[in-house]
Amino acid sequence: MSTADSIPASTVPARGASSVRIKLSRDDYALRTGLVVVISLLAILVVLPLYSLLSKSLEDMDGNFVGLQNFQEYFQTPALLTSITNSLSVAFFSAIIVLVLAFIYAYALTRTKMPFRLFFRGVALIPILAPSLLAAISLIYWFGTQGVLKSWLFGASIYGPIGVIMASCFWVFPHALMILITALSTADARLYEAAEALRTPKWRIFWTVTLPGAKYGILSTGFIVFTLVITDFGVPKVIGGNFNVLATDVYKQVVGQQNFEMGAVVSLVLLLPAVAAFIADRWVQSKQVALLSARAVPFQPKSEPLRDWLLFGFCATIAFIFLAMLGMAAYASFVTFWPYNLTLSLNNYDFDLMDGGGWEAYFNSIRMAIYCAVFGSGLIFFGSYLVEKARGVSWLRTILHLIAMMPLAIPGLVLGIAYIFFFNHPDNPLGFLYGTMGILVISTIVHFYTVSHLTSLTALKQLDPEFETVSLSLKTPVWRTFGKVTLPVCLPALLDVASYLFLNAMTTVAAVVFLYSPETMLASIAVLNMDDAGDIAPAAAMALMIVYTSAIFRLLHALLTRYLKRRTQVWRTR
């Protein structure tokens, strides 16, 4: 086998390379080492913290093992149990409402000739730029005791389930919309032509062709919205009043009472529905088969004035509500003293005079978001590259892929509390990270790892494995192929990942709320803390600073992508 090194690899089928025993090249060793390193890194950052969380839930305050005693205590506390039903019902109703609204919206965007589609699409994505708290704050200005439209609630209070559901629907809408747009974009026109040739009525076509085609997208959306709402804690914290949910209970136990053991118990309870939804979603996606065969004809929407204008009215209403939510927060942030002194001023932007960390928090957030974008996209891209391109050792690649999928099922709060136990443990050599910017960056990258991983994996899959085979036969080292071919081709996807990480780092509360320290105060946490101290107008102001920053970043990203597409993606067009 000593000559195996010189076997021209092009004679080896690309996929079946492992079936022929060839001597491993240096590149192979390097990539395998890389696999092992990334797997261990993720194991340290994902698996071990979860283990410390689990073991903490079985300990008493002095660290003695007490078995299930904490759980027993938990299930005997009625106030805590109410939170479970509260959480489930709020998440359920939000999922149903968002599903219906986002489906109609996505349908209008993808299947009709409705005017201003691009504008509507843009407006619906606004909530992504803001922390979930913004919606709750804005609702207080619209429907709170001093709210402009208080009378619309017919005496009901916005503080409680109504407010939580309304605010949740707002901030999860874009997440639902994006999946549904993807689900509705792929349609085979031949089915519709056949249905029309058979004179099938419109509503029947909708029920028998359109809906079944988007079935998996719809289910997936439902699960994702459910998980997002049940694990979010910003909204119920701001507008929940005395309506407690699981996420706020975790926070209350950990921050309010420093009862870390009970916090661990509640967060494990919170983990259950999230994991269940994750598994259900995976199952649904595995059922999904390619709808578009090679012979499919892409669906081209036709103009139908009545339907299009009805949908235009619907979308305009939603878009108007979205703009009103953002606009009210923006307006309120300039009002000197709501509701008694409505003159406009910049007083609320004087963050240095308020609880919450001041302007420093804002700049910390930007710094953290940049670190996340740079280090996170690098690590994640490298990881997915290994999963896709390392030759052989498919079991190692599968392990890496599985660990990379895990964070999607772990709520940010749960990850955060697990990090406290893991990094704050006196014996942990990584303990020096505790209380630093580093731990915030790590927890944010890990929290948003999965989606980024999948994005770059998709991009890598577009590349024919032939590239590697050819370069192997030409004896080109793997890093050169990586730098000359893989990286340039995947650059837009890499930028997407970086941008995704940046935006989420700017807006996340859950992943960092247990981990920040006085020096590493963040803007999103400042919003939370200012609201907590009763300074709601400055909280709105800080939330808007996040929105402005995210919007500018998005714009830069779009411009850069366009420029790069022109430079590196010319090959895509003929």
Binding site: R26, D27, A30, T33, G34, V37, V38, L41, A79, T82, I140, G144, T145, Q146, Y159, P236, K237, G240, G241, N242, N244, T248, D249, Y251, K252, V255, G256, Q257, Q258, F260, T336, F337, W338, P339, Y340, L353, M354, D355, G356, Y371, F375, G378, L379, F382, F432, T436, M437, G438, V441, I442, I445, P477, W479, P518, E519, D532, A533, G534, D535, I536
Partner: protein, 345 residues
């Protein structure tokens, strides 16, 4: 071989770069003093700035939260304290920490000049007082009128069903203001009468807030017409233009001291002592007086704008011993009875 080395370098850069790069982001500084506090955030910058005028070499790292949380945090870190000194925490909390053996007794320079009520009676004292903060009820006059609410004059008035859902107070488990209210009611009405009163009050409370100033800030914004909070907060909101009336219930109002204490086991004892010395100077007390009508240094106090008149007479004869010794029991009892209406945190 060169390739391998190169590739390995690339690999380790990719992986370790994350960790190492982040380490660079950690600021390094020489004399950092970690100070735990429950003082209002807007005052902290001023306190640190004034202190640094005299001692520019000591940099204060504030860890600020509500009284209950700072207390819980200190207790949780008992075996591995992270604080060097506590500057501005309720005396009842400090007395609790003292009984846990967590404080380092120290007689700051100039101790003799303090009002003797404002220090631990032991010698050397475990804590020295700064100022007193006093309960008060913030009533939004505009909203009270809108809802036809009479202005309450006593604590008992607040149990009138007319106020149902219009009342907010801080959760004593997290807020020092909330705790001094509860402890004062138990002292005014006795143990049984006090809980009876709170049962009735509970029926009117919309929700319990995490922070002690939030009820007054909410009243100031008209979000809830009446907030049980503290006088200084009310005066500040009034100065900001809120239509507030600051009511001192006629049964008397609870109060607590803010105080300073050095944490036992600090590695920066000298710096902590410097701060403790400074915290009882006349200069520091003038600073405290910006927000507190009653300060530890005799003769310093000047009237605070919008501070309700007659507040010194309204202060109850507070039994700190009672409050500190029973703190844990009272809070557990409170939580069992009323926590269902608590705001998150």
């Amino acid at each position: 071989m060169k390739n391998l080395v190169y590739t390995m370098t690339q690999l380790s850069r990719g992986v370790l770069g994350v960790v190492l790069g982040l380490m660079l982001a950690i600021p390094v500084s020489a004399e950092n003093l970690t100070v735990y506090t429950a003082v209002e955030a807007e005052d902290l910058k001023r306190y640190a700035a004034e202190f640094n005028k005299d001692h520019p070499d000591i940099k204060i790292r504030w860890v600020r939260d509500s009284t209950g949380i700072v207390t819980a945090k200190l207790l949780a870190e008992k075996n591995n304290p992270r604080a060097d000194i506590i500057w501005g925490l309720a005396a009842t909390s400090l007395m609790l920490l003292q009984s846990e053996g967590m404080l380092q007794p120290y007689a700051p320079k100039g101790l003799g000049k303090l009002d003797s009520k404002f220090r631990d009676s032991a010698n050397p004292p475990s804590w020295t007082g700064m100022d007193a903060w006093i309960a008060a009820v913030c009533v939004n006059t505009v909203e009270a009128k809108k809802n036809n609410l009479p202005t309450p004059t006593s604590w008992m008035d607040l149990t009138d069903p007319v106020y149902k859902g219009h009342l907010v107070m801080p959760n004593p488990n997290s807020s020092g203001t909330g705790f001094l209210d509860v402890s004062s009611w138990l002292q005014i009405y006795g143990e049984r009468g006090g809980w009876q009163f709170m049962d009735n009050l509970h029926k009117n409370i919309a929700w319990y807030t995490h922070s002690g100033s939030k009820p007054c800030k909410q009243a100031a914004r008209g979000e809830t017409p009446i907030g049980i909070s503290f006088a200084f907060r009310g005066a500040k909101s009034k100065a900001a233009g809120a239509p507030l009336e600051i009511v001192l219930p006629k049964e008397g109002v609870g109060w607590d001291m803010e105080a300073t204490a050095i944490v036992k086991g600090t590695k920066k004892l000298a710096a902590a002592q410097t701060l403790a010395d400074w915290s009882i100077t006349k200069k520091a007390n003038v600073l405290y007086n910006k927000g507190y009508a009653v300060v530890a240094y005799p003769g310093v106090a000047k009237p605070v704008k919008y501070f309700p008149a007659g507040i010194l007479e309204a202060m109850i004869d507070n039994d700190f011993e009672f409050a500190a010794v029973n703190r844990k029991r009272i809070l557990a009892q409170w939580q069992k009875r009323y926590d269902g209406k608590s705001e998150a945190k």
